[in-house]
């Protein structure tokens, strides 16, 4: 089965080509079916691969080489895939959650005239993400890496008549490109120092004692890769594109935030664990950046009124948690959180889409309220999502978040404390969102009220499936106090070597667990009491700063965008046109001017010519007399 791995990206590629080439004539419903079936087929193959990798008979990674990609002298980069525990797990997440999002989209996008094009892009997105996780070397990862950047660009700007949306799309692409440059430099460093881009060779050489590469190089490589990850996975300072990315259709947000794209950075660092284990300083940086992002995004999320914006900042914050886990060397834990997060974040985004549809496109939670009465399934599943992300025991988010906080506790108590604060804010803003949307009385217009309805089955079934996964998804990674056997950790153990695992004693672990649960419950109650009678008075002071996202966009604009723009203006108008071109023209003019003057020597008077001639002869004689001996 592992040898058939090329089928996994092939199906979405075919789906993309069919829908992309025949989008004009393709009926909408058929386009949706083709796109969805393609992902289903990939999912089935992925399942087969997963069970094969899980079985006892599977030894080590399988490399499937398709063809030579770039061969030049000593540089040999084949187009090759690597099947192992890590990639097979990501395959399942991507195609599984991706499939549900496709099913959902067949209903959600059915009124959009661009539906076939939409499914073409969606398939291309999944294809790129699959390349990213399947590649057996960094270059193939980079292809997928930039590919998902492109697809997010196309889908964020899907409704391209709206200037704001296309601005958001552009911003996403450029921000990602900044990170990509880091990735590229990292790759070049690897290639220069190790002469290979393949994971197996690279990690082999790293662990080989005979390799003589200064340790500063390891740090540079690790840092460059991490810069790439901050772009793709929306970490400080490159996170600002992700909240704007909700300009695209809502299922796209689910795809970007849950199944594809933003998890790429986590995957990359988990994949390169062998490298990061050698660079504790860089890991430290990653941990701090992750924690800072988790906290910063959480503070912003508390004061947002757009249902999708709250979710977007919660993604940024949760990604911060994952990087925090990576930062303390707990790669498996980060991957665990990627998985549970994929379930509940896809659920939440799709649920918000159901709400937005019912509200006739309205996204402002100040105009919602009391929706629970009208859409029971959406409400119930959304509640499960909120409970999961808040870390309520028994649901998936609890296990993964608890594992992160436990590993951080073993590392640093201050970081742990800040992590708890961020987790508390998570519970608060999620339940603020939940109560404002589904509880209380309706605050929208009468017309909107008459339209409120539960969504059709194509929408609710994916919600139910994701809700079930959000509950049970955590049991693959039970904490040590509950079970001797962590299924996920043992599955990933051949690929990932975690750094310095701290084994807490059982009483400490129980205590930490109790603490985080108590904190979450208190925050939920707090959110409930605060939003029983919602008051939307204009925010002042700090709250206003937070509502405006710490003015980070404005600061970037003033510090980076505007100066560059001004500089280009100056270079264009003055330096290039007047300066450099002025000199060129000046030379031309001087020659012309000189010609004009010299022309006057041609007087036509023979006497003057003879005079000049004699003068010339005298000069020549003088020169030859004094100079040439």
């Amino acid at each position: 089965m592992a040898n058939l791995v090329y089928l996994v990206p092939l199906f979405p590629l075919i789906g993309f080509l069919i829908n992309g080439l025949f989008w004009k004539r393709m009926p909408k419903a058929l386009g949706g079916i083709i796109g969805t079936v393609a992902i289903l087929a990939s999912f089935i193959v992925s399942l087969g691969i997963f069970f094969e990798v899980k079985s006892e008979a599977f030894h080590g990674p399988v490399i499937v080489t398709l063809f030579d990609f770039i061969n030049s002298g000593t540089l040999q980069v084949p187009f090759a895939f690597q099947v192992d525990a890590l990639s097979s797990l990501f395959l399942l997440i991507i195609t599984g959650v991706g499939f549900l999002i496709h099913v959902y989209s067949t209903s959600y996008m059915s009124h959009d005239e661009g539906m076939v094009k939409y499914f073409a892009y969606l398939n291309l997105f999944v294809f790129s993400m699959l390349l990213l996780v399947l590649g057996a070397n960094y270059l193939i990862m980079f292809i997928g890496w930039e590919g998902v950047g492109l697809c997010s660009y196309l889908l964020i700007g899907f409704w391209f008549k709206n200037r704001e949306f296309t601005n958001a799309a552009k911003k996403a692409f450029v921000m990602n490109r900044i990170g990509d440059l880091g990735f590229l430099v990292g790759m070049l460093l690897v290639l220069f120092n190790f002469g290979t881009l393949s994971y197996m060779d690279f990690f082999g050489k790293i662990n080989d004692a005979s390799t003589v590469v200064p340790s500063s190089i390891y740090n540079w490589i690790a840092l460059c890769f991490f810069i790439g990850a901050t772009g793709k996975s929306a970490q400080l300072p490159l996170y600002t594109w992700l909240p704007d990315a909700m300009a695209g259709p809502t299922p796209v947000s689910a795809l970007i935030h849950a199944a594809t794209m933003v998890t790429a950075g986590i995957y990359m660092i988990a994949r390169s664990g062998a490298l990061y284990n050698l660079t504790p300083e860089v890991l430290h940086v990653i941990g701090i950046v992750g924690l800072a992002t988790a906290t910063l995004a959480a503070t912003i999320a508390i004061f947002q009124y757009d249902i999708k914006k709250v979710l977007a900042y919660s993604t940024v914050s949760q990604l911060g948690f994952m990087f925090l886990a990576l930062g303390v060397g707990a790669y498996t834990t980060a991957v665990f959180h990627v998985m549970t997060h994929a379930f509940f974040k896809a659920l939440l985004f799709l649920g918000s889409g159901s709400v937005i549809h019912a509200m006739g496109g309205e996204q402002d939670i100040r105009k919602m309220g009391g929706l629970g009465k009208h859409m029971r399934v959406t409400q119930a599943t959304f509640l499960i999502g909120c409970l999961a992300i808040s870390g309520i025991p028994g649901l998936s988010g609890f296990f993964s978040k608890d594992e992160i906080l436990a590993s951080v506790f073993g590392h640093s108590t201050i970081m742990y404390a800040l992590g708890i604060v961020a987790a508390m804010m998570t519970a608060f803003y999620m339940f603020r969102l939940y109560f404002l949307t589904f509880n209380g009385s309706f605050r929208g217009t009468e017309e909107q009220k008459s339209h409120l309805h539960e969504s059709p089955a194509a929408v609710t079934i994916p919600l139910i499936v994701l809700a079930i996964l959000s509950i049970v998804g955590g049991y693959v990674g039970l904490p040590a106090v509950m079970s001797e056997h962590n299924v996920l950790a043992s599955y990933l153990s051949p690929v990932i070597t975690n750094l310095g695992e701290h084994h807490l004693d059982h009483s400490t672990e129980w205590m930490l667990m109790g603490l985080s649960v108590a904190a979450a419950v208190i925050m939920i109650i707090f959110a409930w009491s605060l939003n029983r009678k919602p008051n939307f008075a204009e925010n002042k002071g700090l709250a206003k700063v937070l509502e405006n996202k710490w003015y980070v966009d404005e600061i970037y604009d003033a510090l980076i965008v505007k100066p560059i723009d001004a500089l280009s203006g100056v270079l264009d108008k003055f330096v290039d046109r007047r300066g450099i071109d002025g000199i060129v023209n000046g030379v031309g003019k001087t020659v012309r001017w000189g010609g004009d003057r010299l022309r006057l020597l041609q007087t036509g008077q023979v006497g003057f010519y003879i005079f000049i001639m004699v003068l010339g002869i005298v000069v020549l004689f003088t020169i030859s007399f004094f100079w040439v001996k």
Partner: protein, 480 residues
Amino acid sequence: MILILLILIPLLTGVLSFSIKGEGAKMLALISSVVTMIVSAYVSGANSPEPITYSHEWIPMLGTQFSLLADGMSSMLCLLTGIVTMVVMITNFNKEVENPGSFHGFLLLAQAGLMGVFLASDALLFYFFWELALIPVYFLCSRWGGEKRIPVTFKFFVYTFVGSLMLLAALIYLSLQTQGINSYAWADIVRAGSSLPPAQQQGLFWLVFIAFAIKMPIFPFHTWQPDTYEQSPTPVTIILSALMVKMGLYAVLRWLLPVLPSGVEYWSDTVILLSVIGIVYTSLIAIKQTDIKRLIAYSSIAHMGLMCAVAFTNTNIGMHGIMVQMFNHGINITGMWLIVSMIENRWGTRDMTKLGGIATAAPAMAIMLVIISLANIALPLTNGFVGEFMLFNGLFRGDSAQHIMTMVVAGLGIILGAVYTLNMIQKTAYGEVVEMKITKDLTINEYAGLAIIISLIIFLGVYPKPLLDLTSEIAGMIVH
């Protein structure tokens, strides 16, 4: 014998074209360009393991021979010339042009000149074709160009001609240094040049390099280019930007690097610095352009800057990357200009601030625009990426701070490239539809021309092996 066909076919049909009145000239030009393309494709397939050569007596008293040679690099560039010219003829087929006989005649003559430049293995012959390619372009610009064509073309001509004269002086000097009787043969010139004392090589370097730098063009010798591209009719802009600028780079690889090795070694850091500054400088300027033609012109200077910088790094992979990128840049920029001319044809303007909604009004055109733009910013799985990745590898010769900085500064071009390219897409393709003068998506011949370009973009982006194999040997030879 086959090589002479590459020059003779366009030369003879070009001359013949002047005598044709009316539309028949287009058909003649199309047939001629297809035949030439097929011959160049054959040459590309047949130059291995031994390069194809052709030699004939020319002006023996000057020590010059009519000798041609097609190795991997030459045949790759001939193939590019063949394909680009053919695509130009295909897409131009339904366009109204004044006096089509002479217009196509000049185009074909320029093609003949270009083929000669890429094939000549005799310095004087090379110079002859170098000028021969320039003259038709001068006439094309000054007769069929835009409003400001006369001063712009004059400047273009004088500027490049000054460079050419410097080159000629250097070549004559070099041939005087050859052993025994004077010779302009490539091997003799190389022997003569490389045995000169370093100080002389360092001086001669600039005579030769400036000629090529103007042609590419390299910052700060670039200011003729945006104006000329803007004022030229599109077929001419394509010939200029896809092929003529390659003459400059090709000449560096063939007639500068091996000929003056000590001079090159001495000045390479300077050239790399100039080129890298040029990348960022022109990318920044491109951001501010509102005329699409000027935007692409500056973008092209940035791309050429990267190739030129890498040419002086003396790395195998870098050199190989240049080969690949010369071809791909030619293909991509041809596509860009075609789209621009189609936009101008439908909307009557190239000003981005007055455009919008192509994606709604002409979706096929918009899709092509997006794909070609993505290749222009070197997105993986488009042809642009393979070359750019190899070029950056070449630029990255060590992990000292200086090398990393060079690399990062050049890399800023990647980010800025995304900025101006996506700006252009946003302003032209997205938003509300601006009223069209001619309401029509792509015509059949435009489809055909763009289909060739797009297929090459994707094919060479996914499977670059044929192009890499064609040029790997010669890349290694230039380095060592």
